[in-house]
């Protein structure tokens, strides 16, 4: 227990620069958010950029914001590697989680499109014919 707050000796030294980092992080977060909202407005008003590219940018910027919050505000960037890894490695599951589930959702949509009433009958007839090749 004692070792966690034994840093008192060296704390005041790095503390001064610390508020500067806090405000810097705040401006970065605010800047990114304003940029995102600005892009969204440009898209709304002038149809700026295709939707897919815009969404890609939004996701990248969101992850950037998450990085700054976790690394600076939650101080994880300044912890030792063991702690960083024990938190970050399990989050890698999200990579599979997102890809698998969104792919599943998309395949449901395609199934619905294929099976909705009025879908050309030829489509279903072509399939068995092709399977003979």
């Amino acid at each position: 227990m004692a070792h966690t707050h034994s840093a008192e000796g060296h704390e005041p030294a790095h503390v001064d620069s610390s508020t500067k980092t806090i405000w810097k992080t705040f401006w970065i977060l605010l800047g990114i958010t304003i940029f995102e909202v600005g892009l969204a407005f440009l898209h709304l008003e002038y149809n700026f950029m295709p939707r897919v590219a815009l969404n890609g940018i939004f996701i990248i910027l969101t992850i950037a914001k998450a990085f700054f919050i976790v690394a600076e505000f939650m101080h994880l960037g300044h912890e030792i590697k063991n702690l960083i890894m024990t938190i970050l490695l399990p989050l890698l599951l999200f990579v599979w989680f997102i890809i698998a589930f969104l792919y599943d959702g998309d395949s449901w949509k395609r199934l619905r499109d294929d099976l909705k009433p009025g879908t050309p009958v030829e489509k279903t007839l072509v399939a068995p014919a092709e399977s003979h090749h």
Binding site: V37, V70, F73, P90, L102
Partner: protein, 224 residues
């Protein structure tokens, strides 16, 4: 101090935390990790359903109101304000933690108070937004908003919106309650007596996590 010896330090040899943080802080991190998976599951199921739907309502058509502005068409404005409030309260929270490192009781109390005010402001905004949507006919199981392509939308849109923002709002609420408890202890001098303000750091971690989740909710519901 542990970190003084670096290169040759055997972190797993025992005698000290291999994570170089106290038990309580480590457990807060693990709790937040599990909570991240809860929110992740909610947001990914929202994404899955949205991907599986032929069409979906346009968020800019739904979230376009601002208090006191009547029927003015102001997409993104109100939610940007909410985002700003939450980021700001995150900053005041770091400043409280920072003041705790300096053992500055007055400053900790001041910044914690601002954080609580920020949290309450955010909750008020959310209450207004929910009430407004409710009066427009949106609720769990009811969706008055049409899809982008003009077809009638299913209730998936409102169900996910109210469930996920509601779950997040619940987190903000419990965060505010925790902050109030910690503020009371600060004022009582509990941490001054204990010799450190680590409890402020722990609720701080929770509070930043709530902000972090909002960043994702903001993107998933309002931007995409």
């Amino acid at each position: 101090m542990d970190t003084a010896v670096t290169a040759k330090k055997k972190w797993w040899a025992g005698g000290y935390s291999p994570f170089n943080v106290s038990y309580g802080k480590l457990m807060m991190w693990y709790f937040l990790l599990s909570d991240a998976f809860t929110f992740g599951a909610l947001l990914i199921s929202y994404g899955t359903i949205r991907f599986s739907s032929p069409s979906w309502p346009d968020p800019n058509q739904v979230f376009k109101s601002f208090p006191g502005m009547g029927h003015a068409d102001l997409p993104l404005m109100f939610v940007s304000l909410m985002t700003f409030i939450l980021i700001m309260s995150s900053v005041t929270m770091v400043l409280a933690v920072h003041a705790g490192h300096m053992r500055d009781k007055k400053a900790v109390a001041k910044w914690l108070t601002w954080t609580i005010i920020g949290g309450l402001m955010f909750l008020s905004c959310q209450a207004w937004e929910w009430t407004h949507l409710y009066h427009e006919g949106a609720w769990w199981g009811r969706n008055p908003f049409a899809n982008v392509d003009g077809t009638a939308a299913s209730t998936n849109f409102t169900n996910f919106f109210f469930t996920i923002t509601g779950f997040h709002g619940l987190h903000v609420t419990s965060g505010v309650v925790l902050n109030i408890v910690i503020l009371a202890n600060v004022l009582k001098g509990t941490y001054e007596q204990r010799g450190h303000y680590e409890m402020v750091e722990k609720v701080g971690l929770y509070w930043h996590f709530v902000d972090l989740v909002w960043v994702f909710v903001f993107t998933c519901f309002y931007l995409l």
